[in-house]
């Protein structure tokens, strides 16, 4: 390849790439712009005025939908999904480095969960919990616990069925990232620690964990952001409450003011902040590594 002069093909491809990036980001920039319009602003151009009016509208609530409550639910669920994804993926990642009986079957199930159409997973979990409800009601009746039978409503919920539905989506990413890490991991450090008399826990806590920390931050980011935006797997598996993206999906047909763009701006900013935070934390950990410091 000629070092000094780029062939025509390069420029055509570069142009294509730039067009793709504009296609990717352009529409999102447009709604961010439109969300800062004045009170007389509409859903399309031209931009009328500049204010935070629509964000105030959003804070006051859109129709019957309590945005604040949905936001809190999504944050709580996102953090729970993040914690479970990190802990379970790291544990399973460690397990796969050893001789794991049935390991390839487990791996097959995890990949199947990743590519399974979400509506099927969602339907299955919804069905499972409804059958559980029926079973529990029957048990309460059989045991003569009429009080329980009357007050019991459903086992479907944010931290039961919805949490499980999200994990079927985030854990495959977490496990694949762990595989990528350990495929490039030099076991010499661990062996040195063991030869120096470290227990398995000490070896993990003081040698392996610091080395994989930047990537574990990446798993945490996947866990939170994928849960924060998840709709398809949650839809049939959550019961009577809604997460923020589910509310948002409902609002697309009812809200006809830029308030919905303001909501879009807010959720996108949260996603971007989490990404930036993850990036900062990951680079902090790798700096520690390079300086040879411990944490």
């Amino acid at each position: 390849m000629n070092r000094d002069q780029r062939p025509l093909g390069f420029w055509l491809l570069a142009l294509f790439f730039v067009a793709f990036v504009v296609f990717l980001y352009g529409p999102m920039l447009v709604i961010v712009l439109l969300s800062f319009q004045g009170p007389e602003g509409g859903l399309t151009f031209p931009i009328r005025g500049f204010s935070l009016h629509w964000f105030r509208q959003l804070a006051e609530g859109l129709g019957v939908v309590d945005i604040g409550a949905a936001l809190k639910r999504s944050l709580g669920l996102g953090l729970a999904v993040m914690a479970f994804t990190v802990v379970l993926s790291v544990l399973a990642g460690l397990a796969f480095r050893k001789k794991l009986w049935g390991g390839s079957a487990l791996f097959f199930v995890v990949v199947a969960s990743l590519i399974m159409p979400s509506i099927i997973v969602s339907l299955g979990i919804g069905l499972e919990f409804r059958l559980l409800d029926t079973g529990l009601k029957w048990v309460f009746g059989a045991l003569g616990m009429t009080g329980m039978q009357e007050t019991f409503n459903t086992t479907l919920g944010l931290y039961t069925s919805a949490l499980g539905a999200h994990l079927t989506w985030t854990l495959p990413f977490g496990l694949l990232i762990m595989f990528a890490i350990f495929n490039r991991f030099n076991p010499a450090y661990e062996e040195a620690a063991r030869d120096l008399g470290a227990t398995p826990w000490q070896g993990f806590r003081h040698v392996v964990l610091p080395l994989i920390a930047p990537s574990v931050v990446g798993i945490a980011m996947f866990g939170f952001t994928l849960s924060w935006d998840e709709i398809a797997r949650t839809s049939q598996a959550i019961g009577y409450v809604n997460t923020l993206p589910l509310e948002l999906q409902g609002l697309t047909t009812t809200v006809t003011t830029p308030a919905i763009y303001a909501l879009g701006t807010v959720t996108t900013v949260v996603s971007l902040l989490v990404m930036a935070g993850a990036l900062a934390l990951a680079s902090f950990f790798s700096r520690l590594q390079k300086q040879g410091k411990r944490f």
């Binding site: 390069f10 491809l13 294509f16 790439f17 793709f20 990036v21 980001y25 352009g26 529409p27 999102m28 447009v30 439109l34 399309t44 379970l88 993926s89 544990l91 399973a92 460690l94 397990a95 796969f96 480095r97 050893k98 001789k99 794991l100 390991g103 390839s104 487990l106 990949v111 969960s113 590519i115 159409p117 509506i119 099927i120 997973v121 339907l123 299955g124 919804g126 069905l127 499972e128 499980g164 994990l167 079927t168 854990l171 076991p187 062996e191 398995p200 996947f222 952001t225 935006d229 709709i231 398809a232 839809s235 948002l248 697309t252 047909t253 919905i260 763009y261 879009g264 959720t267 990404m275």
Partner: protein, 304 residues
């Protein structure tokens, strides 16, 4: 994609205690997938043979649900709703697959072979993946101000005098559904194809060009076959997503376009679980057949 084999790391000791601790570590993840993936799938299979009335599910073994799905489908003169819906879903899958494949391949090819600095390469790659971590619904509705009846595209076209009346089919149409799919899911093509391309030994390209191959010949005879795995993985992602979709088709189709996923969603919301389950079983069988065909494609190419 394959799990790292234990033998790759010399530290493995094969003592029984070691294997046992590995199982304890894998147990929590296994429990999650059993409870929230395998059991639900088994229940779908079981309930698809159940009966139901307006109030409850009735355990039974009946083919009623499957029969009612294909009710009227033996009529050759007019296609039944089920076939029409599947045909429409296939149409979207095929279109989106072709477009994301061409766009994803071109973008990956540019990144992998035409960007020389590896820092710039990483930066541009990350730039392509950032939107994946933001909300899909937001990315869908962000097309409204552009494609709506009074949107930017129509305003521009009318002002330029290209059309007299605003074009109606830009939004809430097949067009906007395909556009949104491409917008959302090209990333699923770029990541695996780029990954495959980065593993290609660069000396092969030099060898090809030294042997007198043109850029096109190198692309078609060296790069495409060697990116095969990435292409297949990306295709499986895109096709399975579109086959089961109901959110994108719902929002971008103005809730007017049918899809298999949407049928399942509607039936679930009416608590017609046995019907929804039977539809899910059919959808799953079709998706598995497509995946099987795609993976066969890899083997066939390998043998040639």
């Amino acid at each position: 994609m394959s799990p790292p084999t234990a033998s790759a790391h010399a530290r493995t000791s094969s003592s029984p205690g070691h294997a046992l601790s590995a199982w304890w570590q894998a147990l929590p993840l296994t429990v999650v997938f059993v409870l929230f993936f395998l059991v639900p799938l088994a229940l779908i299979g079981m309930v698809s043979f159940w009966d139901f009335n307006e109030y409850e599910l009735l355990p039974a073994f009946t083919f009623k649900n499957y029969i009612s799905i294909f009710d009227g489908c033996s009529n050759a003169a007019e296609m039944c709703t089920t076939f029409k819906t599947y045909l429409s879903t296939f149409k979207f899958s095929l279109l989106v697959w072709l477009i994301t494949l061409v766009v994803g391949f071109t973008v990956s090819y540019f990144l992998a072979f035409h960007v020389r600095s590896s820092t710039v390469q990483t930066l541009l790659f990350v730039l392509c993946t950032i939107p994946f971590w933001t909300s899909n619904v937001i990315r869908m509705i962000s097309w409204v101000p552009l494609l709506g009846r009074n949107g930017l595209v129509n305003q521009t076209l009318v002002q330029l005098g290209v059309v007299d009346q605003p074009i109606e089919w830009l939004l809430f149409s097949d067009f906007s559904v395909v556009l949104a799919f491409v917008h959302l899911y090209t990333m699923f093509m770029i990541v695996p194809i780029f990954n495959s391309m980065m593993r290609i030994d660069r000396s092969l390209l030099e060898a090809a060009s030294d042997s007198g191959a043109s850029a096109w010949q190198t692309l078609w005879n060296v790069i495409v076959p060697l990116s095969r795995t990435g292409i297949i993985v990306g295709s499986i992602f895109v096709i399975t997503i579109v086959m089961g979709d109901f959110v994108t088709i719902g929002v971008m189709g103005g809730q007017q376009i049918a899809s298999v996923g949407k049928i399942i969603q509607v039936q679930t919301s009416y608590l017609q679980f046995p019907l929804a389950a039977a539809n899910a079983v059919i959808l799953l069988a079709l998706v598995l057949m497509i995946i099987w065909a795609l993976t066969r494609l890899v083997d066939v190419r390998k043998e040639l």
